[in-house]
């Protein structure tokens, strides 16, 4: 049995990063006869991304490399260890992009027939899209690209040119021919460009390629449905294709419809037309979306925060890998989704694997905390020749590195490399988990104070505009036309409300900061502009309607109804005045805010913490994140006291890092003691490192709690 994950596009590669940590946590497993979880021995991953410089892709690749370094150290030392049992082979498909045309227009430039055909298939903007940075949400273009790419694979193979996809296909073929079952999962989003086009293209190709081994070739895909928003694009939408959150849901829906329509999911193992044995859909309701801090339509600037759903996607992969789809298990051919019996994020959300996940992923986090809070500075110190003798004095070091001072420079360098890999893997993991918690869906966590303030500001500002508009209107309206209640009372009430709002809004602006306020103004302006345009359009439509009724369609309306229509027009015109007034007010506020340099107004100091959750202690995880940030700065610029404070906090709160009903009794002291009680499994730097790392991973979590 062999397992493959093809990570396509930015989202696919975020899932791949999650997969790395799942491997570290032994979360990819298959049950043995006794029901015990046996980690998968190998998982092969292929990165497919048109955007060669995508930050998420690079991070996933790096994380996998660090993981493999650590895992190989374990494997070489034969030290019993928690996690790190699954070998993860990650390749990146070099699609030879430099040799390819970068747009349809480029391809058809010198060929009239091709141009004619292109006109029938693609819109003008699509044809002109340069897709070196992805397909910007146009999978129809991506399909053409991938088709061409995949169609050339055999030629490449024949020419003997190295190609990662060719290699992977050859391996699959070998395994299938050898009688193995090959399980392939493709992962990516279907509301973007690369993933949305790559997944069906490659899936179809694979299915077609191994149609002769359909009994052993099991194919699935994790289709990520929209779960985040992107900030509004700055580019001109009329001039170039931009990515808009507003289209995500429709794109996903269209793609799903296509999958259904085309019979992409097999209705059974006899279904020859279908492509997938399993489809995993993951998405969120619109209100649970978070807005990515930075979003780019491509290139390395696209390095988005990790998200809980990507973690869950890996869980889907894990389930796929351990599930049978043939023979008696053919009933598992189906579409899957995620059902959560909770309104908060907790280990229980992993249902049957709750305890396992708490121990594995939680343990990994505690290990990271101990490593960075306690071990790493010592380890770095003893790696220096002058401080090597300290290894004697630190019990958790002495057990493994007591003779380090005798090691050659090459051995120490090798150890340093291993240590660096562990450091980076742990740092990646710590940062990943921090991001996952930071981007928890708003509906699954308590509201943050600044969110509360921003929400209140948004609500009150809307009312503030209304009150001012009403007051202005009253000043322009003759007394006899003013509405009930009596003018004085009504106006006084408005004035009172105005005063109260006028007092409250600056407080809220101070709380959320100028940038947020400007963002709110911009959003309000956009919202009102949309309303204004909509009102104008409606008004124009009504005028046109009345003109028709007074002209060619006069026969369709009686005089009374025409009067009613005209009254309606008058009401709409009045309404338009109101909408214009309000838009002008917001516009004025926005201009004033810019003139007064409101943007420079910092938000009130709020503890930059993670939201409350039942996975990890947000404060401690934040301390760990801060510590990693401090470690990331140059040594001479590093705030030693801050580092110490973070270490102290992690030391003190070590037992509370994992959120659980029954607190883990393993404190830092316990853990350190545990580590000190270990032994080195062999000689040499590799054994020393592996023993140390294994002790680190084992000492942090009590067995009972598992």
């Amino acid at each position: 049995m062999s397992y493959y994950l093809i990570a396509i596009g930015g989202t696919g590669n975020k899932i791949l990063e999650s997969l790395v940590y799942a491997c570290a946590a032994d979360a990819l497993y298959a049950p043995d006869e006794e029901g015990r979880r046996v980690p998968l021995p190998d998982v092969n991953a292929l990165i497919v991304d048109v955007d060669a410089a995508c930050g998420n892709t690079t991070r996933a690749k790096q994380a996998s490399e660090h993981y493999e370094t650590v895992r190989e150290a374990f494997a070489a030392a034969h030290v019993p260890h928690r996690g790190f049992h699954t070998r993860l082979s990650v390749e990146r498909w070099n699609m030879n992009l430099a040799k390819r045309a970068t747009s349809v227009a480029g391809m058809t430039k010198n060929h009239r027939r091709d141009k004619l055909l292109a006109d029938s298939l693609f819109s003008r903007t699509e044809a002109e899209l340069e897709y070196s940075e992805g397909f910007r949400g146009h999978p129809d273009l991506g399909v053409l690209f991938f088709a061409d790419l995949l169609d050339n694979l055999d030629a490449l193979a024949a020419e003997g040119q190295p190609d990662e996809m060719v290699t992977m296909l050859a391996r699959m073929r070998r395994e299938l021919d050898a009688g193995d079952t090959v399980k392939v999962m493709l992962a990516g989003s279907i509301f973007g460009g690369t993933g949305a086009s790559g997944i069906p293209s490659i899936s179809r190709f694979l299915r077609e390629r191994f149609r002769d081994r359909a009994d052993r070739f099991v194919l699935s895909a994790t289709l990520m449905l929209p779960y985040f928003d992107v900030p509004p694009a700055t580019a001109d939408e009329t001039m170039e294709i931009v990515v808009k959150s507003s289209t995500f849901l429709d794109k996903a829906r269209t793609a799903l419809q296509y999958y259904g329509m085309e019979g992409m999911i097999r209705s059974g193992q006899e279904d020859a037309r279908g492509v997938y044995d399993a489809l995993y859909l993951l998405g969120l309701p619109r209100e649970a979306f978070v807005t990515q801090r930075i979003y780019s339509t491509g290139s390395q600037s696209q390095e988005n925060d990790a998200h809980l759903l990507e973690w869950l996607a890996v869980r889907c992969a894990a389930q796929f890998f351990r599930t049978g789809f043939r023979g008696a298990d053919a009933h598992n051919i189906d579409c899957y989704y995620y059902q959560w019996h909770s309104r908060e994020v907790s280990w229980d959300c992993f249902d049957t694997e709750a305890t396992f996940y708490r121990g594995s992923f939680g343990g990994l986090m505690k290990s990271a905390a101990l490593f960075f809070g306690e071990c790493y500075p010592t380890l770095r110190a003893i790696l220096r020749e002058d401080a090597a003798r300290q290894a004697h004095t630190v019990n958790y070091m002495a057990a493994y590195f007591h003779d380090i001072h005798k090691w050659s420079g090459a051995q120490r360098a090798a150890l340093e490399k291993l240590t660096d890999a562990l450091y980076k893997l742990m740092a990646f993991y710590g940062n990943w988990m921090w991001q996952v918690l930071r981007t928890l869906p708003p509906t699954l966590r308590p509201e943050k104070p600044e969110e509360t303030a921003a929400r209140e500001l948004s609500q009150l500002y809307g009312r503030f505009v209304e009150v001012r508009a009403s007051l202005a209107a009253r000043q322009e309206t003759p007394a006899e036309q003013q509405p009930e209640p009596a003018p004085d009372a009504y106006e006084s009430e408005l004035m009172r409300e105005y005063a109260a709002l006028n007092q409250r809004l600056p407080q809220l602006i101070a709380a959320v900061g100028g940038q947020t306020y400007l963002g709110l103004l911009q959003a309000e302006k956009n919202r009102r502009l949309v309303k204004l345009e909509s009102q104008r359009a409606a008004l124009a439509e009504q005028r046109e309607r009345i003109a028709r009724f007074e002209g060619e369609d006069a026969r369709l309306i009686d005089a009374q109804s025409l009067l009613v229509e005209k009254d309606r027009l008058a009401a709409m015109e009045r309404a338009l005045d109101g909408v214009e007034d309000r838009f002008a007010l917001v516009n004025e506020d926005a201009l004033r805010a810019v003139e007064q340099r409101v943007a420079e107004q910092k938000p009130q100091e709020t503890p930059e913490g993670l939201p409350h959750n039942k996975l990890f202690n947000p404060a401690l995880l934040h301390e760990l994140h801060t510590l990693l940030t401090l470690y990331g700065t140059a040594a001479d610029a590093r705030d030693a006291r801050a580092v110490e404070a973070c270490r102290r906090a992690l030391w003190d709160g070590f037992g509370k890092i994992i959120a659980q009903r029954v607190p883990d009794r393993i404190t830092a002291a316990h853990a350190v003691a545990g580590m000190g009680g270990g032994t080195r499994a062999g000689e040499g730097y590799q054994a020393a490192f592996a023993s140390f790392a294994a002790a680190l991973l084992a000492a942090v979590v009590e067995e009972d709690s598992l």
Partner: protein, 1208 residues
Amino acid sequence: MKRTRKDERKAALDRKTTYLTLLPTMDEGFHTGYQTRAGIVSDGNQKPHEWLESVARNMLTPGEDVGYSIPDVLAGEAQLRRLMRLPYEDAMRHQEMVDWRGTLAMLLLWDCWAQDATWPLLECQNMLTDEGGAFLHGVKAALPPERAAFGLWLFTLSITRDGVPEKKAVGMLSPAVALAPAANAGDLSDYLPDTVRWYNRARRRFEDPCPLLTEEDRARLLQRLRYVQALNERAELNSPLYAADASLCGLIDQFIGDLLSRRGSFRERLEAGDPHAARELYIRALAVCGLKEVTALQGLARRDDPLALTDLAKNPLLSRLSHADADAPAELGGVSVITYTFHGKAFAIESPLYLLEPANAPGEQETLRRLWQEASLPLQFDGEWNRAVAKRFVGLANRLTGRLGASRRVIALLREWSVQRAGFREAGERAIALQLPLTDVPATLPRLTRELVGLEDVHTLTHAFSDCLLLCEGVPPFEDARLNGQCTVHGAQRWYAVPPIGHALMQWLSRAADAEEEELFRPAIPAASFHFEAFEEDGVHKVRAHMQLTRRRRVDGAAYQNRIELSRVFTVSAAFAQGAAVPVPTRELPTVRLWPAARVRGGQWQAYYVLTQRPDMVDVTVPDANGFMQGQPRRAMEEAEQEERRWHVARVTMWPLYVGLSRGKLSLGALPNDDAPLQLKREAPAALAVDFGSNATTVMLRQGEHIRPAALDAGLLKTLLQGRGVDDLRLPDEFLPARLYRSQTQPATFVSAMEMFGDDETRWQQPLIDGHIYYPPDMLALLRKNANALYYGLKWGDEPYVVQCVRLFLKQVMVQGALAARLAGSPSLTWRVSMPNAMPLYRQEAYLETVRGLSREVAAETGMPLTAGVPAVLFASENQADGLYFRSRNEVNAVSGFLNMDVGGGTTDLSVWLGGAPYAAAEASLLLGCRQILFDSLAEHRREAFEADFATAAEPLRALVLEMSRSFAGGLASLRVRQKNEFLMDAFFAEHGESVAEVMAFARSQGRVSLLESLLLLNFGFLFRLCGELLERCNMDEATRAQLRPRMEICVAGGGGQFLKYFDDATRQKLYEIAKSGLSKDHPLTDLLLVQSREPKQEVAIGLLTEDSRLRSTVQGADAPAQAVPAPMERRRALLKDYVTAFYAAFPMAGQKLMANAFDAMGSTRAATLKPAAEMELEAILDNELASGEEFSGYVRAFAAMKRLWKM
């Protein structure tokens, strides 16, 4: 339209449940299935397809168009397949669906349209069969094998632009959706024929063809869509379009449904009782059953288009989707589309259930409107037509009644309309309304207008309104207050519209009025029908003009009035342009007048003159028998104001019912002048007598025995448009004034002066056009008058220009006289003229000949014929005429004899009538008229004394005299100015006679004598002396002496004779004594009695009419004037000397004033004696003047010479 719905209640409930599905928000219709466990789950139904589609279907999204997000190189095709599965309303929100319908409809109908050389070339080729580049390679790779096997059949359209063929992709043949429109079709405006109305050329994209198809196309498209359905669902047709699930059929069902719903809309409206739908059906039914079948109206046609199955194979799309050996299902054939067209434009299709339904063709409403115009006319007025239509309607209703599913509503309507049409009755008043300008003219309109108002040329009606509406701003423009009221523009400040009657209509109305015997039954535009209303539309100011063209008709003894309501909207503008309403200050408009304002029926008068003063702003034209006539332009320089005045005068031969205004080619309306014709009495033929005097002319009229002045009413001058108020002051300079005569006591007497509009006498042809009788409004106006245009003292000149001027003068006199005769009811006339004996015979002959010629000319031009059987012109001498006048008077005893003294402007005629004879016993014609009595003295020698006479008079009079005196002083060197001064003086004495008498009386009361009195006494004394001399001649003749009686009347006539009234009885007695001083001792006369004429200035004219037998028709062979026996020379030589001595003795103060240097101072005996020098001067004069010639002429010459010599 967004698909996302915000259901707060559901969201709140969702939040309460502990279950959370990690999927996007779903619609209520989505069911995940009951999950007992958390984690990664499926719905457990083992139907992943359905579940997946359910997810897609129920996912709540904003509804953005994201067809490109389909991961398929044929995304467009896939998108259509996807949309096919969406709820229909949702699918139709996508432009792709609209494009699909649009392109499919175009290709399915392509072979149905008539194509010519300009038609674009439609081709279809498989893109996979030919070589291509990298792109085609990529596309091939991306295609599923089965799709690739079908091929990529691309439809393209080609046109040639600048000789270079250009091609556009239209769509691709699809086994799934029949046709996938091109994703980047670009702008197809130039590629698609106009028949593809559903391609929005402005937005460069297709629209849903359903509402835009013609019914013929709709029928064909329905047939072809059903064929496509058959190809999709029937395996036996072996079509590549065949699908087991027949997925395309549903989509086409919806298409067909929408195609039919358009028709359903009409049906629903009709069934719901919508009056508009019923009316549309009514028009269609009238057009088909009436206009086509009864009237056989040209342009109406019925077209039968069978939908043949064989045609299907010719279609470029169907031919590729159907198997070569497969036949189209027979049930799709046998249908036919019957279309009715009007001038090629479809307006109805035949319907088995609804009789006639909309054709939905472009401009169908307009076609219906035109058909209604056509039908409405016979509908209202043609009984036979109505009855025939009624019969057809009944037949159709009966036929429909027996048809299953036929609309009950249609049947009921047909029966109802049938009853209405059958009940048509021709009689009654009829009216139609037309909003002009008509975009097209119903073919039935000419017939109707002929019936209604007798108008043959419908163009006249369609151009009933003038091109522009002239709005007079400020003062009311019309003389007629009622017209001002009717033409007031409502809703505007002080705007009055000139009735916007078009020229053609104006001309037709004028001719019809001229030809129509009965005024009551002529076509007319009643002034009461004018209505003008200002309003604003879309920010543009407009004026709606309304008027009625009416005509009474008599049916079965009853009279009905037919009416054509006409209205037109003009846009207010500053510039004259078609359809513009242009405000112009009234004062800038010309003044338009008409003479005579006497509408006489049936060509009984045919000389009408239209004067336009200041015709700068607009042109004034008058309808005439030969079209429109514009007046001849004339101009004059007003010296006093250094201003050139311009005017036009047109003479037309028929009553100008309207006077048109225009500017260049643009007509600006008409000035109505539709007075009722005058009711003339039937009188006897007229005889008109003209007394052509030196300074005044009188015309008298006789009908039967009744003699009266041939005077014209002041109302004969009518103002049609009063532009400038000041024009009234100019009127006499250019035309006829309202008041022609000097006073009420002298009707039919006017000055003998002409004002000519040019110096070239050869062009003095038409009175009132080339020149006219000048009527000075007052002395001041005359004083300021340019002397160069004025011709006075015409009677005695024989220069060619004078002859021509006299001719024109007489012609105008005769025209006016003829008009007077016509208005007096005479059917014909003859002329009488007088001539002074002093006039040489040849000139008398010439004068008579001129009058004869003019009588014929005037008869021809005015339509007033000469009385048959009598000479056109008879004449008598002035003496004769005077005598006949006095002979007929009661106060004169003709038997005892009388002496007639007619003192005219240039002559004085003396005659002695004895024994009741109808002729004079002796007569003399003296060149001593008023002019000689006063002018030379006042103008040349005694201006200061003349001024002094009036020194104590009222200021205006004194000033006038001073002005005249200045004018006299300036006129000594110029003949024309002298003539004008003579005119001035004549006018002065005629106008200020009373004032002159007062001045004379005042002087007498002061114990002195005025110059005027002195001059009058001197001259009248001389005339009386000559009267005595003439009486003495009668005494010397045996034949006449026996008839002399002791008592005789001396009858004074003529304008000059009026001066005698200024003297008291004592003075007059002295004059008698002077007369008697020349009588011999044995002369029987002892008493002279003065008889002043009661009709001064009319005596000659009346005399000419009293006894025709005394008149002659020719000068030749006439009796010589009764010459008195000449006196011996000694007596002759003594007369003047005796007279002046007697005069000095009788009137010493006057004598002293005039002849102080000739006489020695009076002694105690009061006898005055001539100074020797004066006596010698007199002798010299007598030697010169009495040497030859007639005796009395010699006296006058001598008297004149004496006055000159002694500067009297």
